[in-house]
């Protein structure tokens, strides 16, 4: 299965959350590939803590592959190459976790037919080898998004299931932007339809992930004043109404990731050690990520049961 991670704005935690999803699916036993199509700012190497493995890769990443400079993009086996002390001990029963990094110096690029061709090949290759292929797209309506919309509309990929996750923060502007990314003119649905997708089928394959959402019941907020608490609840209510009006209400939400400093600041995978030993990450955050990873494959959540 292909999973595309998209967002309209930066700062949604899209990359770090989708990397955590990849990690969680691998822990569940899936073979997972994480494809870094965030061409503006490839960050996955930092999230998976594989800087050493990437030092040699200046030219053989996804950019070089897509523009035809190399025949195969570099792959980094996370379990064996990571410098993260917890990740290095690959848990029994876990699946493969492989990163396909962008080039160190790569930026956005325009897509032509040959690039598209290579993108289709890459998707076919990866889906025949991995259970889940998570593709992290640049924020906004990017060339990368156009390319994967076009690629997934091709007959060669029509037999491959694709799901879309649109990440947004829980603010007024982010809700409006996320809705726009999907529903407005030139958005994912329009862009997809223009490239041959069935609009309704595509709509059915899109779910939203609310990121950096303050959990009002969490101990973090237990000390706020009653007035603050009421205000926050009202804001939350307002945002729910807004989201619903904009077509991204609860029924199309796959999950919610709490506001979590470790995700915001360290941009790394959250492991059990972070929660249980060093306790620098919230238990709720890890649970939310685990839940998200399960729901990714829960057909009932995708209108498929």
């Amino acid at each position: 299965m292909l999973v595309f991670a998209a967002s309209d704005k930066g700062g949604t935690g899209r990359s770090v959350t989708s990397a955590n999803l990849a990690y969680q699916r691998a822990l569940l036993g899936d073979d997972v590939a994480y494809v870094d199509f965030d061409f503006g700012s490839p960050t996955a190497a930092a999230v998976f803590d594989v800087p050493g493995a990437l030092r040699g890769i200046k030219e053989n990443g996804l950019h070089s592959y897509l523009v035809g400079e190399v025949g195969e993009p570099v792959r980094v086996d996370i379990w064996s190459r990571t410098e993260h002390p917890v990740l290095r001990d690959r848990p029994g029963g876990s699946g493969r976790l492989v990163l396909l990094p962008g080039d160190v110096s790569g930026g956005e690029f325009a897509t032509d037919q040959e690039t598209l061709r290579r993108c289709v090949d890459l998707m076919l290759d990866l889906t025949s080898e991995f259970d889940v292929v998570i593709v992290d797209l640049s924020a906004g309506r990017s060339y990368a998004m156009d390319m994967v919309l076009e690629a997934t509309a091709r007959p060669e990929l029509s037999g491959v299931e694709a799901r879309w996750l649109v990440f947004h923060r829980w603010t007024r502007q982010h809700v409006i932007a996320a809705s726009g990314l999907v529903f407005k003119e030139h958005g994912i649905l329009d862009g997809g339809a223009a490239r041959g997708h069935d609009k309704e089928a595509l709509r059915g394959a899109i779910r939203f992930v609310r990121a950096a959402v303050p959990d009002l019941d969490s101990p973090l907020w237990s000390q706020v004043s009653p007035a603050q608490s009421v205000w926050m609840e009202r804001c939350d209510e307002y945002l729910r109404q807004l989201a619903s009006d904009r077509g991204i209400g609860d029924s199309v939400v796959l999950g919610t990731v709490p506001l979590e400093p470790i995700l915001q600041w360290r941009e790394q995978l959250i492991t059990e050690v972070d929660v249980l030993s060093t306790q620098i990450a919230g238990k709720e955050t890890l649970e939310a990520l685990e839940e998200l990873a399960r729901r990714l494959f829960d057909d009932a959540r995708w209108g498929r049961s």
Partner: protein, 336 residues
């Protein structure tokens, strides 16, 4: 015996085989296989049904003008064509080989293209070709910009995958990885038969083979032998990965789900030497003695069959919890 050395005689042949599960839910029948491999409209695809279903495309050519990889950094520019061909075994496993042969010396400057077109599958050096350094270089893999046979083989696989026969039918019945086998063949000393100098399981999905073959051996025969090696190595690799951790303990439906594809799609494909050139076939015996391919395969097959039999006998028992959820729970349990 004392004839002058013919410098146009090949002194090395090199190739790379990519082996891959056909991206199709069901295997292709003989006629479909022939359509898939019709790389040239005017040349027949060879289809053979004994002892198993096998189809082989005509050779296609790719022009190259680049440096060859060398182990000692020597700069060897070659010009000519690399031959590539694809095969499909039992409508299920697809292989692409890119290969060439090269003489010890060639003209000092590049010739008109027609000169190379009439020498299909031959790369001529501009000047001299140090075959030992090239042999080692090819097996080790080149630097960017040097001849990459794997790229050409991959290009052929890509072309096959775009065939309309495979549209809408691309969901594979099980996961597998593409493997590569690089080979070089140097001439055997006069009067001696073929030999395997080395068979290496290099990286994860890369194998390398170094051969000595009698001088008059056709490169296509060597390619055929190496495709046979690669096919069986791929089968072993794929089945080992498929059942990795899934044989014990018995996990009901999960184990069944993991093992079924092996039985349905792979176990019957084991048939070493089915089409290997007679003069090269003895090399299989060497490989069997050294690495016990067939021994390992038999053991694996038997374990899978035993396991399935066991699953059937306890099939009436209530279903055990799925392996994956169980793993996730126990993980949390031990950590706390």
């Amino acid at each position: 015996m004392d004839a002058p050395v013919d410098t146009t005689r090949p002194v090395i042949a090199c190739g790379e085989v990519r082996t891959w599960l056909l991206p199709s839910f069901r295997p292709l029948a003989a006629q479909e296989a022939a359509r898939l491999l019709l790389l040239r409209a005017d040349e027949r695809v060879l289809v053979s049904e004994r002892p198993n279903l096998y189809a082989l495309s005509p050779d296609t050519l790719t022009g190259v003008d680049c440096r060859l990889p060398t182990s000692n950094g020597a700069r060897v520019r070659v010009v000519g064509t690399v031959a590539a061909r694809a095969s499909l075994t039992e409508g299920r496993v697809v292989q692409a080989t890119a290969y060439f042969r090269a003489p010890a010396t060639g003209p000092a400057a590049r010739q008109p293209w027609g000169h190379y077109l009439v020498r299909p599958g031959v790369l001529e050096p501009l000047g001299k070709l140090p075959e030992q350094a090239v042999a080692q270089g090819v097996l080790a893999g080149g630097r960017p910009g040097e001849l990459d046979l794997g790229l050409i083989a991959d290009g052929l696989l890509t072309r096959l995958r775009q065939h309309p026969l495979l549209h809408k039918n691309t969901r594979v019945p099980f996961k597998s990885r593409r493997t590569s086998l690089r080979w070089v063949a140097l001439p055997a000393p006069d009067g001696q038969g073929p030999s395997i100098e080395r068979f290496t399981l290099a990286e994860d999905d890369l194998r390398t083979v170094r051969l000595r073959v009698p001088r008059d051996t056709e490169p296509s025969a060597v390619a055929g032998l190496c495709e046979d090696f690669a096919l069986h190595d791929w089968l072993l690799t794929t089945v080992v990965r498929m059942i990795d951790g899934k044989l014990v303990p018995v996990e009901g439906q999960a184990a069944l789900k993991a093992l079924r594809p092996a039985v349905e799609h792979l176990l019957h494909l084991w048939m070493p030497r089915a089409r290997v050139d007679r003069t090269l076939a003895p090399l299989w015996d060497v490989l069997e003695q050294e690495s016990g391919f067939t021994r390992q395969w038999r053991t694996l097959s038997q374990r899978i069959r035993d396991q399935l039999a066991l699953l059937q006998t306890i099939g009436s028992l209530p279903e055990a919890p799925l392996h994956r959820d169980g793993a996730a729970e126990s993980r949390l349990g031990t950590a706390s």
